[in-house]
């Protein structure tokens, strides 16, 4: 079961809560990027490992994340 998560990067406040709840530990903070608010936004580099559980989106206080099941 593959999933796809998209991040509305400029809404991200870099709190890192989403990174703590991912069961496959693929949500990370993108240290190469700085968003409009000045934070390193959350991102996923290994999208093929995503199981579309939606945990990251449910934990996010700023509704940054959309989750789709492929």
């Amino acid at each position: 079961m593959a999933g796809k998560v998209t991040f509305d990067e400029n809404r991200c406040k870099g709190c890192e809560l989403c990174t703590t709840v991912c069961p496959v530990k693929i949500v990370i903070m993108d240290k190469d990027k700085i968003n409009i608010k000045g934070y390193h936004p959350a991102t996923v580099k290994e999208m093929d490992k995503c199981i579309a559980c939606g945990s990251c989106a449910r934990m996010c206080p700023d509704v940054v994340i959309t989750v789709e099941k492929l």
Partner: protein, 248 residues
């Protein structure tokens, strides 16, 4: 491709002013999702408090009213009595509801006003800079209790849900938490149920949501959730206190 999770229509596009990792954002979303799923967005009227969530009226896409400090239940009483078919809710923090607004919430519950209160308890005054609240835990540091709350000086933290559960017309009283995903799901279930009870006209309902304040607790957002779990839940147990027979 099926959507598993997307932003609810119950929230506006405006980005919140809350600090990074503030659980107000999660609780706003749960309220907005509940209203959307119950089809109440068109007839919902929210009452925003004074405190960090003072700008809640900008974030919900339903009608909103701002109340003076602690008086959201009084304001909601008037709105619900004039518009009995609407879904009225107050969204209040612990500084607002448990301190200056303690009388309003007790009397709204006593009269059995048919609205729903979302009570966000983070054991501190957030907006004004981390002063001790009635809900601050023993030993917890605050700007007005630099050595930690002393029970001989400031008394014991107020358990609002337990207190309101003794009032006969408070038909739905539940305490939930948002420190992890399973608890977020349970919190949403409780909020949704509280709105269902209101729409059935059964009486007053309150959902107390344990929340964090990483800025004033002096912790990172991740540490704050851990602190909530380890310190707040033992004193403020997560449970249902009152539930009307009709919806059990």
């Amino acid at each position: 491709m099926a959507i598993v999770f997307q932003k609810t229509k119950g929230l506006t596009e405006k980005q919140t002013h809350y600090c990074p990792g503030c659980t107000h954002g999660i609780i706003h979303r749960l309220v907005a999702e509940s209203l959307e799923e119950l089809g109440l967005l068109d007839k919902a009227i929210g009452v925003a408090p004074v405190g960090c969530s003072v700008f809640a009226y900008d974030y919900f896409s339903c009608d909103m009213q701002e109340a003076s400090h602690g008086r959201a239940p009084a304001c909601a009483t008037g709105i619900k009595r004039v518009h009995p078919d609407s879904a009225v809710f107050t969204y209040q923090g612990d500084g607002d509801l448990a301190s200056i607004g303690a009388a309003e919430i007790v009397h709204a519950a006593m009269r059995g006003e048919k609205f729903t209160t979302i009570f966000v308890n983070n054991a501190i005054y957030g907006m004004t800079g981390g002063q001790m609240a009635p809900t601050t835990l023993i030993g917890q540091k605050a700007t007005t209790a630099p050595l930690g709350r002393d029970e001989n000086h400031a008394g014991m933290p107020l358990r609002v849900s337990e207190m309101l559960a003794t009032i006969p017309k408070a038909v739905f009283v539940e305490r939930v938490s948002v420190h992890d995903v399973p608890n977020i799901m349970k919190a949403k279930k409780a909020i949704k149920k509280a709105f269902e009870i209101q729409m059935k006209g059964l009486g007053f309902g309150i959902v107390e949501v344990l929340s964090t304040c990483s800025t004033n607790w002096g912790k990172t957002p991740v540490e704050a959730l851990k602190w909530l779990k380890e310190n707040m839940i033992p004193y403020y147990p997560i449970q249902n206190f009152r539930n009307p027979e009709e919806v059990k």
